[in-house]
């Protein structure tokens, strides 16, 4: 019985790994393998020489940075307020944050286009506002979960009784104790912005994903090589987060509170 259970577990893990690794492996072979079986970095070199592609990557990183900043500025005080003052509203807000997952991008994109002031429509940075909303299901949950692991009410009251103002409480007490949640939100938001295609395409902006699609039409191996590199990049980011999370817990665990 134990043998069957072990076998089943091994099989499930093996299938799971194959499911993720096989497409990356196949894409890597397609992008980096020459006809004679040797490997080459030419697709990446040609990507680096593609100015439009590099500009779009730079623009996307800027948008990602803006999205992260706006997300944190919006969510940290809001979630702190929800936990402290109106905890009963948390379920409703959580439900609201899930709506970007169920409304089709075309509906969101058109709605977004019409609701934006004209001056905003003229700049790709308007995508920041759209991406903040798109990332909400992930960023909200990451930060909300981190707040749930600490006794925010007691920490807040203790800080206030010691003379700290609200902003001091946020900066010196709450943020350091929800750091793992904040990093989770940051990495998930960056991953989303680096891979978001629908909005940028609908709004006709040349971000990295849309340029990647265009590049793929003329030079498939370059597009696939960049996809593999960005996928591995995001994977490394998420693993760094997990590692950071573990080290952080060893240094300052929330347990035993």
């Amino acid at each position: 019985m134990k043998f069957v259970r072990e076998l089943l577990r091994f099989t499930l893990i093996a299938v799971g790994i194959l499911f993720f690794v096989l497409p990356i492996y196949a894409s890597s072979l397609f992008a980096f393998q020459e006809n004679d079986g040797s490997f080459t970095a030419k697709p990446l070199q040609s990507a680096a020489q593609n100015e439009e592609l590099m500009e779009s990557l730079f623009l996307t990183l800027q948008i990602a940075f803006g999205t992260v900043v706006l997300t944190l500025l919006l969510l940290i005080p809001t979630i702190a307020y929800l936990h402290l003052v109106i905890p009963g509203a948390r379920a409703w807000v959580e439900f609201l944050t899930l709506t970007p997952l169920v409304i089709p991008p075309i509906v969101q994109g058109v709605g977004f286009l019409y609701s934006m002031p004209t001056s905003f429509k003229a700049t790709p940075y308007a995508l920041i506002f759209a991406y903040v909303i798109l990332a909400l299901p992930f960023s909200y949950r990451a930060i909300d979960a981190a707040f749930s692991t600490i006794d925010i009410r007691t920490l807040y009251d203790a800080s206030r009784s010691l003379g700290a103002r609200f902003i001091t409480v946020i900066m010196r007490v709450l943020i350091p104790n929800i750091a793992t949640g904040i990093f989770g939100a940051i990495f998930l938001t960056i991953a989303l912005v680096l891979g978001e295609f629908a909005y940028a395409s609908l709004l006709l902006w040349d971000t990295f994903p849309t340029m990647l699609a265009v590049a793929g039409l003329s030079d498939a191996s370059t597009a696939v090589a960049l996809s593999v590199v960005s996928l591995i990049g995001v994977w490394i980011l998420l693993n760094a987060l997990t590692l950071f999370n573990r080290r952080d817990r060893q240094a300052v665990p929330m347990g035993g509170r």
């Binding site: 600490i150 006794d151 007691t154 920490l155 009251d157 203790a158 800080s159 206030r160 009784s161 010691l162 003379g163 700290a164 103002r165 001091t168 010196r172 007490v173 350091p176 104790n177 240094a251 300052v252 665990p253 929330m254 347990g255 035993g256 509170r257």
Partner: protein, 349 residues
Amino acid sequence: MSQVQLRGVRKEFGKTVALDDFNLTIPDGSLVTLLGPSGCGKTTALRIIAGLIKADRGYTFFDSTEMTDTSASARDIGMVFQAYSLFPNMTARENIEFGLRVRKEASNSIRTKSAEILEIIGLEPHQDKYPHQMSGGQQQRVALARAIVIRPKVLLLDEPLSALDAQVRDQLRDEIRRVQREFGITTLFVTHDQEEAMSISDQVGVMSKGSLLQLGTPESVYSNPVNPTVARFIGTTNQIPVQIASHKAHLFDTQYEISPASDYSPNSLKRTALVRPEEIKLNKTNNDSGNAIISAISFLGPTSTIELTMPQGLVIKATMSSKDASMYAINESVNSSVTSTSLLITDGE
């Protein structure tokens, strides 16, 4: 240090009245304890003094300064919570220094004050530990140090010992009292543990259903409760059925005066005398003609408790020195009586 006053305070949570026309004065430099069962409003009163919740009505004063609308961060208070409230991202010393840094004190002064207080509470060896590396008792010591290092006008202690085991609780209780006296800080202590309240306080306030029933020294509250509710809540009481006739209480074939603090209805058929175990006196009898049988003897060190079964099956307790108790044996018939001259009477059985 300040005298603290709550005047005519009312606070409701939904349909529940937590405090109703609540008045309390904490004299300058004294330690007053609010004692009462869960939900009686004691923590609400403390949090109103702290400024962490707003009263619906009434005023808060520190000396002659009205603080009713002053925010918690501007009240100059120190507070220790029931839950461990140290900041998990800071060491013991950083926690202690937090209030001083918020006040933007000079670095030298911060170092000197934190070193001084760490020495006073005996936690110097643990100053660089994070909260999760310390025991519950050590964490509460640091929380106490953090609260008093800023030299607050008022120290507020919200059941700070309730999460600790008995031995640590006793040690920390003594430490709180020592430090409070040393610094002379006006202190409000909230607890539901009467032993804690009696041992630590200059004055004890007994609360029930949002009202302060009695405020006085531990001795006066114990010996002269203003009503049966206070008597029942403070210490142990025997509830013994009693007859009332001609304005006298009749118990164990003896007449007693009725205490003015009694509270019973003239039409009530069943009345009860509330008698402390130490007020029950036993006398040996030569035969089995006593009015009670000893059913158990519990040795508690210097004192012992003797359990007596009365003829109607009622069981009451008598407390005496262990030396006196050693003269009695289980199943022995004895004569019991009450030493006090007046009895506190209430309705019911």
